[in-house]
């Protein structure tokens, strides 16, 4: 039962990603070419509603289902890793039109060639683990 609820949340995520067309290579190209408001509208709405929700959750000290007060982890205060990592991520995102979530949603959608992108992403993750100590963070 506990497992099922996470699978259901994942199904909801997959449907939202598909129906919003955020898993579309075409939509990502359109976004990076600044030729439509669609993706900016989606991400913008999510961020604005997200900021309001997080503010309320913190202000009212809301609790999660297990009764613990919800805390939001702060990101580590390094800066180089975010810009370097971010740029490398962006290069791949524009090329494949897929960030990690949409890779898997696309595969379920029927784009089996996304498996090649997923294998690439796993190799990339492994490569990061291999080179981690030599990279500027």
């Amino acid at each position: 039962m506990k497992s099922l609820k996470y699978i259901l949340a994942g199904i909801l995520f997959g449907v939202v990603m598909s129906k919003s067309e955020a898993i579309s290579w075409f939509r990502i190209q359109e976004m990076f070419r600044f030729q439509s408001f669609h993706m900016y509208g989606i991400i913008g709405t999510a961020i604005i509603l997200g900021i309001i929700s997080v503010f309320i959750i913190k202000k009212l000290k809301l609790k999660d289902v297990s009764g613990k007060i919800i805390v939001f982890q702060n990101k580590e205060p390094h800066y180089r890793k975010y810009i370097y990592g971010g740029i490398i991520f962006g290069l791949g995102w524009a090329l494949t039109g897929a960030c990690p979530g949409p890779m898997f949603v696309n595969m379920g959608y029927g784009y089996l060639s996304m498996l090649v992108v997923i294998i690439g992403a796993l190799l990339g993750t492994y490569l990061y683990g291999l080179l981690k100590d030599k990279l500027p963070h």
Binding site: Y6, A9, G10, I11, L12, G14, V16, S18, S24, W25, Q29, M31, F32, R33, Q35, F37, M39, T45, A46, I47, G50, I51, S53, L62, D64, V65, N74, K81, Y82, Y84, G85, G86, I87, I88, F89, G90, L91, G92, W93, A94, T96, G97, C99, P100, F104, V105, N106, Y109, G110, S113, M114, V116, V117, G120, A121, G124, T125, Y126, Y128, G129
Partner: protein, 185 residues
Amino acid sequence: MIELIKQPWSWYFSGFMIVMVMLILVFWGKSFGFSSNLRTICTLAGAGKRLNFFDFNWKAQRWNLLFLIGSIIGGYLSAHYLSAPQAMKLSSVTIHDLRKLGITFNGELNPEELFSLQALKSPKTVFILLIGGLMVGFGSRYAGGCTSGHAISGLSNLQVPSLIAVIGFFIGGLIMTFLIIPFII
């Protein structure tokens, strides 16, 4: 109800639903970040025996793997039961620009030139997909998160590091779109 879901979703409803997914996980005591799964899968494949980075308690991430399995099912259900009968409304300028690069808009989510099984016969296409995926995997772990972890969860929590990462996503995306894709596709 199903008929309503089948319609193409507006950007505001889509954005609202993404926040719902984030909040569901938050109230279950979890944090929305998809790319962590890539690290977990490496660990399950045995990478923890070679590298410390992968030697962690993956069971704490079991929920996220289940979420990943759900997302694949969600994609399948969308394609088979929830897809709109009409073609996607892509900007005509984008359609025109992509045609110049040899990519035809077919009304579907992804171009056949890159994502059909036929296209995989070309070693160049396989290389593009593999390298692209590699950069996404490497970059998301280096930056400590992807679109869900930084752009959605991080910015919702007003994290400056996430803002820097998102600016990075765009710098990389623009370089790829305007300076690299025209020469490799």
